[in-house]
Amino acid sequence: MIADNFIYCKPDTLREASAAYRTLLREDKTPFYYGGGSEIITMARAGSRIPDAVIDIKGIPECNTLEINDGDVVIGAAVTLNQIQESKLFPLLGITGSRIADHTNQCRITLGGNICGTIIYKETLLPLLLTDSTILTMGPRGRGRKLPVNKLFDRQIKLLKGEFIYQIRTDVSLTKADFTHVKKTANEKIDYPLLTVCTLETEGKLRLAFSGMYSHPFRSTNIEDAINHTDLTIEEKLDMALSLLPDFPLTDSEGSGEYRKFVFRNTLKEIIERHEND
């Protein structure tokens, strides 16, 4: 049971959603945009973060889009991880989503929710960062923005107050590129990542993005340059990649920072060896 009550509204259009946000704000409420709800319900039940109101975006057609349109794979923010995987439109994103929580939860967790939630791993961002996806947002005054993912996300999602993501567009050709997805957990298969690595191969070069190392996912072009350097041995590439890590890795119940560096090096080694042998 959730002890504290809240308002629930379900708009049919993007404009209705932003209007609802403005109205609730005027009434001195703190509204949350609501996708699958897993995180909001869990936090509300625990009493750690209770919204005054939730605005469920699942009734908005743009948020439920899952199609190829004008050379892009277009995915709505309310599309579930399971729907993305079943559609096979963006295989790397599908596989990445299929390793977040468990299958039943994947039938509820939405792409927008995974990106905008408070859980630090946000693994679905990795394929989006690698493919330079474009994020479409709707602002509180009914104005939309269209931004490259790396402009909207840098350590955290930089949404304006009352702004929400409603769609993600990705160039079809990049969704078809060769990729790798590796998720390392401390113990159980279904768990938060010690390290998740996604790679994408374009023009013979690897792009790499990581989750689990810090309190945010990241893509590093410096590390990519080191890994793609043609005059270095694998060991030299790994040493350079480790030296280019932006900070000392996270220490938490999943593992120490030192252990994360160990896993990072070994995982990267396997990926490079496989790439160079292909």
Partner: protein, 170 residues
């Protein structure tokens, strides 16, 4: 037209083929409403955190953990609880045949996941089967028996699909 629920509201849920009216707060979770207002106690409260799967029901044919769904969200969707299987679903017979339970607390959740898998993906392979079933936990560790039960149901469902495909072609 925007739907708005503020305080206690009467909503209509479609559960096990019937329209049922309940009075809920927007913050009420579906599991509590099913159990306390509709008397459908098959879905069990376990972790209430989306981890254990004992509260699994089907929403529009797909498994969901009803502890992580608001009752108001379920309006307009088809819900199926273990009571809706009516004791005659193939997976229920297979569970009995293979003794796929001990204490039984997780059973309704497992039945719902297995039923959804057999219905939506009768050709599911070993990998897919494991992926769906790892959403649920059995602390008595009846996993091998549950696997045997769902394997038999999938084999039968798959053969039936093949037969109906053959019949359509011929």
């Amino acid at each position: 037209m925007i739907k708005y629920y503020n305080d206690l509201s009467v909503i209509e849920l479609h559960v096990n083929g019937e329209a049922r009216k309940v009075t809920v707060r927007p913050a009420d979770i579906l599991l509590d409403v099913l159990r306390e207002q509709l008397g459908l106690t098959g879905a069990k409260a376990g972790c209430k955190n989306g981890d254990c799967g004992t509260c699994t029901i089907l929403m529009d044919g797909l498994p969901v953990k009803s502890c992580l769904v608001l009752a108001v969200e379920a309006v307009g969707h088809e819900l199926l609880t273990v009571e809706g299987l009516s004791g005659i679903a193939p997976i229920q017979n297979a569970f009995v045949k293979y003794h796929a339970f001990q204490c039984g607390y997780c059973t309704s959740g497992f039945l719902m996941v297995c039923h959804a898998l057999a219905t939506t993906k009768p050709d599911a392979d070993e990998y897919e089967m494991e992926r769906w079933l790892e959403s649920n936990i059995c602390r008595c560790t009846s996993y091998q028996e549950i696997r045997s039960a769902i394997t038999e149901v999938l084999d039968t469902a798959s053969r039936q699909t093949e037969r109906s495909t053959y019949a359509t072609i011929s």
